[in-house]
Amino acid sequence: MSPTPDPRSPRDLLTPAALHILLSLSQQDLHGYGIKAAVEERTEGRLVLGPGTLYEGIHRMHEDGWIEELAGGGRKRVYRITDRGRSVLREELGRLERIVDFARAADLLERPV
């Protein structure tokens, strides 16, 4: 498969933080700190979200309807990914996959052991 140019402008690309927030929420509903913990766990501590980055992302994704707030969460707000969020995530992962496919075909990656 040949790589296709990405029609989106760089500004619309998901930031790594946003990708990881969506990834975490795709597994389970979480509150803010839970997202941070999940990301840290999945990346084995390589990505530690700070409060600014995390809540900026949450705020924007919430505004854009990619995630929603579960009612009755009390003081701890719990977030759930929406269908729209899932499709954004799928699209992003597909894009990454194409890049990885290309990289593999071009022999840019180490062979999996």
Partner: protein, 891 residues
């Protein structure tokens, strides 16, 4: 502390203080929605024992996030046209759209502002070019003008002798240099037509002191022999065809030959303060030589009488006062050696060169700047008023916006954007006005404003115009904004007319201010006009009308003096008198308004009473009837008179011999310097004004041109003719050339033009004040007209009802006019007060008129009131013609 443990906290206490501070960076909606979560997040982290590094990382992350969000929301706002920072571009677009709906009003406002900004920019260019810009010399800022003066001379600007300069130079070590320059006119006697040139006679260090670098060759060296010359760029180009091999060539001056060692750069200009305005541009520079009929002007002592001016450079870290103290010391030394320094009141003052250069024109320019500032204020008031009127037309629009939740700040911004658009358009157009004015100014500006020819509309002027536009924006925009801020939507929507009625006082107030300011300008122009009328009525003591003049100068290489020179004067005079169309001719130096010469005098005999300093003249007997100077007693010179006879003026006779006849008495004077001579008074003639009709005459002594003539220095030839000025010139040139082909006719001109130059500054101020006053008056009248018509428009219904109920049309007219005149009357009263307060400023420009001259005040006030009445009457008539039926139908 765990997340759950913070449950009892209120909203206001979100987390540690630094979190609260950093959250201020975020947009409000984020803060409202997320503050608690962020605080909790941080608390969780801290609860798990986050170290300093983690805390710093969190703080940095919070800060970055905040900045990112702010940037994003700003970008979105400008893109969509929403939010608190909706782009300036949008405001401007909206303003332009709005203004396009009222193009007439926009045009009037833009024109008004263009007039105000344009006139101000033009005057600023002059003030900047003349007063503010540094001189173009390397030592600028430390250059000083060292000025000699003597008591008896008003406008003291005495020249100094070479010997005195040397004493000053030795004693003033507060100056790192003190160089001297003499300026004379000589005739270039090379190939081609003879031509009179300005010659600068400088000490060798003079040009290097100014930091000049020659364009060709070199400057003077102390060991240059006499007869060395440096040329100006202009002369090199015009006279020597820009010869690149000019260094080493010789040029002839009055028959002597000078070796050229260098050419100055084109940009070099020397400007020195002199009595009659700046020194003329020098064509040829020469080093000191002793060739001069009066001897060695570079070394002799002269009790303050001499031919040199001094320019120096202040030593580093030395105050001007130190140099002044040393100058005083040097004068004291001179006075101790020779009592004459004391009796003539010889003194030396040290000035910053640039300040001294512009000292005389500074007040004039500042006066004009102030006056033109008034015009801008009036223009602003006018524009504000027009915008207010427009604002009232839009009162419903504003009310609707307010009612719909448009913030007052948004509305204010839109109004400010409108005035910004108008001001920018006005200043663009104003730059055109300014360029035109700067272009024509040198034509009618007096010649004694230094540096005027370097005035141009440059980036600084443009910057000034931009600043003026910004200032104008706020001044103009303020009134409508303040008014909009007070709009009560409910009232305005409920009854548009009720809303429209308010703000009338503000508009009236603006008109009062406009009328007052223009009255002040009108009074100023009136005072100047009546002052000039008085100056023109002063009898100068001679009849300038029909008098044509020029100068000739004969070289010592070809003529002996006094005999040959005296004969030449008579020959030239005879040939000119014989020309067709010439009734009479005479020779004199200096002619009235043609320069200054003078010396001290005393009663004849040893120990005679000193009479101070008096103007000297050299004249032929034909001069007096030619110029129309009457002989009051005795006789004029005649063939065969001894040298020791003198004709004196009435004022001189009064001073020397009060209450007695001067005829046959003796006075002592020294027209050629050196030893003073006793003269017998043979005649008394009328007094003439020497240079300025406003200055009282100082009398005069006339020496016989037959026996006291000179060479290498010019004399004036006067011709009385009925021919139009100028038509005589070719014949004059021919007559003079026939006599001696090497003698040029220099500066031919009509005497009336010469006399007019004496009042040029006053007329310049008057013409500009006049322009300003007329512009201001027009603006004020337009403003008044606008307000009255607007009010009438608002009251159409009321007036219609009144008419329907039987009011006389004339009564309605009177009512409207009365109101306009009342507003204008307040302005006139205020303006009269201001004019009286400020009148003193004008005093220096006035002649025989008091600043509070009642006639001028009354005339200006009456003119203003009449214009106001007219401006009100036009809309009043329209009001009176209102058809009541139509108005009531319209309701």
């Amino acid at each position: 502390m765990s997340a759950g443990g913070s449950g009892g906290r209120g909203r206001g206490e979100a987390g540690p203080w630094w979190v609260r501070v950093l959250l201020r960076l975020y947009p409000r909606d984020f803060r409202d929605a997320r503050s608690e979560e962020v605080a909790e997040f941080v608390s969780c982290e801290l609860g798990r024992g986050a170290g300093l590094a983690r805390r710093v990382a969190m703080a940095a992350d919070l800060a970055r996030g905040g900045v990112r969000m702010r940037m994003r929301s700003w970008r979105e706002a400008t893109r969509t046209g929403e939010g608190w920072t909706m782009g300036l571009a949008n405001d401007v677009r909206a303003a332009v759209r709005g203004l396009m709906q009222a193009p007439g009003l926009a045009l009037v406002v833009v024109t008004t502002l263009a007039l105000g900004i344009g006139l101000n920019t033009a005057v600023f260019s002059v003030v900047d070019g003349v007063l503010l810009r540094p001189l173009d010399h390397a030592a600028e800022g430390r250059l000083v003008y060292v000025q000699a003066a003597r008591d008896a001379e008003e406008n003291a600007d005495a020249l100094i002798s070479g010997g005195d300069w040397t004493v000053l130079r030795e004693r003033m070590d507060a100056l790192s240099a003190l160089e001297a320059i003499g300026s004379i006119r000589q005739t270039l006697t090379d190939a081609g037509l003879p031509r009179q040139v300005e010659v600068g006679w400088v000490s060798p260090g003079f040009l290097p002191m100014l930091g000049v670098r020659p364009a060709l060759g070199r400057l003077f060296r102390p060991d240059d022999p006499p007869g060395t010359a440096v040329l100006s760029h202009t002369l090199w180009q015009e006279h020597l065809g820009a010869d690149p091999e000019v260094v080493g060539r010789t040029v002839g001056l009055d028959g002597f030959s000078y070796t050229v060692v260098g050419v100055l750069p084109a940009a070099f200009r020397l400007e020195l303060p002199t009595r009659g305005g700046p020194l003329p541009d020098i064509d040829i520079w020469k080093n000191p030589d002793t060739y001069w009929q009066n001897g060695d002007i570079w070394n002799e002592r002269g009790a303050g009488f001499g031919m040199l001016r001094m320019v120096g450079v202040l030593a580093p870290d030395t105050p001007l006062a130190a140099a002044q103290a040393q100058a005083d010391g040097a004068v004291a030394v001179l006075a101790a050696q020779d009592a004459e320094y004391e009796t003539t009141g010889f003194r030396v003052t040290v000035h910053d060169l640039r300040e001294r250069l512009v000292a005389e024109v500074r007040p004039t320019l500042l006066l004009l700047m102030g006056a033109v500032g008034f015009v801008l204020l009036i223009a602003c008031a006018n524009a504000a008023n027009l915008l207010l009127v427009r604002g009232h037309g839009r009162v419903r629009e504003v009310a609707v916006r307010v009612a719909l939740g448009g913030s007052r700040w948004r509305i204010a911004r839109l109004l400010l954007a409108e005035s910004l658009v108008l001001a920018v358009a006005g200043s663009a157009l104003g730059l055109g006005v300014a360029a035109a004015m700067v272009g024509v100014m040198p034509w009618f500006a007096p010649g004694d404003i230094p540096r005027l020819d370097s005035v141009a509309l440059d980036p600084r002027a443009v910057a000034f115009a931009v600043l003026a536009a910004l200032g104008t924006t706020f001044v103009v925009g303020l009134a409508p904004v303040l008014h909009a801020a007070r709009t009560e939507p409910a009232a305005a929507l409920g009854n548009a007319r009720a809303g429209a009625g308010s703000g009338g006082r503000l508009r009236d107030g603006l008109v009062v201010v406009q009328v007052a300011l223009s009255l002040v300008l009108l009074v100023g122009a009136g005072l100047m006009m009546s002052s000039l009328a008085r100056v023109s009525r002063v009898d100068p003591g001679f009849d300038a009308h029909g008098l044509f003049t020029f100068a000739v100068s004969i070289p010592s290489t070809d003529y002996d003096w006094p005999d040959e020179a005296g004969r030449y004067y008579r020959d030239v005079q005879e040939r000119v008198a014989a020309l067709p169309g010439v009734d009479a001719a005479g020779v004199v130096w200096p002619m009235p308004f043609g320069g200054g010469w003078g010396g001290d005098w005393q009663l004849g005999g040893d120990g005679g009473r000193s009479l101070g300093v008096v103007p000297y003249y050299l004249a032929t007997e034909e001069y007096f009837p030619t110029a129309g100077v009457p002989l009051e007693a005795g006789r004029l010179f005649r063939e065969g008179d001894p040298r020791e006879v003198v004709v004196i003026s009435e004022e001189a006779a009064r001073r020397a011999f009060p209450g007695e006849s001067a005829l046959g008495r003796r006075v002592r004077a020294n027209p050629w310097g050196g030893q003073a001579v006793d003269f017998e008074v043979i005649g008394v003639v009328g007094d003439v004004r020497q240079s300025d009709p406003r200055e009282p005459t100082r009398g005069g002594l006339y020496f016989d041109a037959r026996t006291w003539s000179w060479v290498d220095w010019e004399v004036h030839v006067l011709a009385r003719t009925a021919l139009p000025a100028g038509t005589l010139v070719p014949a004059l040139r021919q007559a003079v050339a026939e006599l001696d082909a090497n003698v040029p006719v220099a500066r031919p001109e009509a005497m009336e033009a010469r006399v007019a130059e004496a009042t040029a500054t006053a007329r310049f101020v008057l013409s500009l004040l006049g322009v300003f006053a007329v512009a201001a008056g027009l603006l004020a009248v337009v403003g008044l007209y606008g307000v009255v018509s607007y009010t009438v428009g608002q009251r159409r219904r009321e007036l219609g009802i009144r008419l329907a109920l039987g009011s006389a049309r004339r009564g309605i007219e009177g009512m409207v006019v009365r109101r306009g005149v009342l507003v204008a009357g307040l302005g006139v009263l205020l303006g009269t007060g201001v004019a009286l307060l400020l009148g003193g400023i004008l005093e220096a420009w006035l002649f025989e008129v008091r600043p509070g001259d009642p006639l001028t005040l009354v005339a200006a006030a009456a003119a203003m009131a009449a214009a106001a009445a007219l401006a009100s009457w036009v809309p009043a008539r329209r009001a009176a013609r209102t058809d009541p039926v139509e108005v009531l139908k319209a309701e």
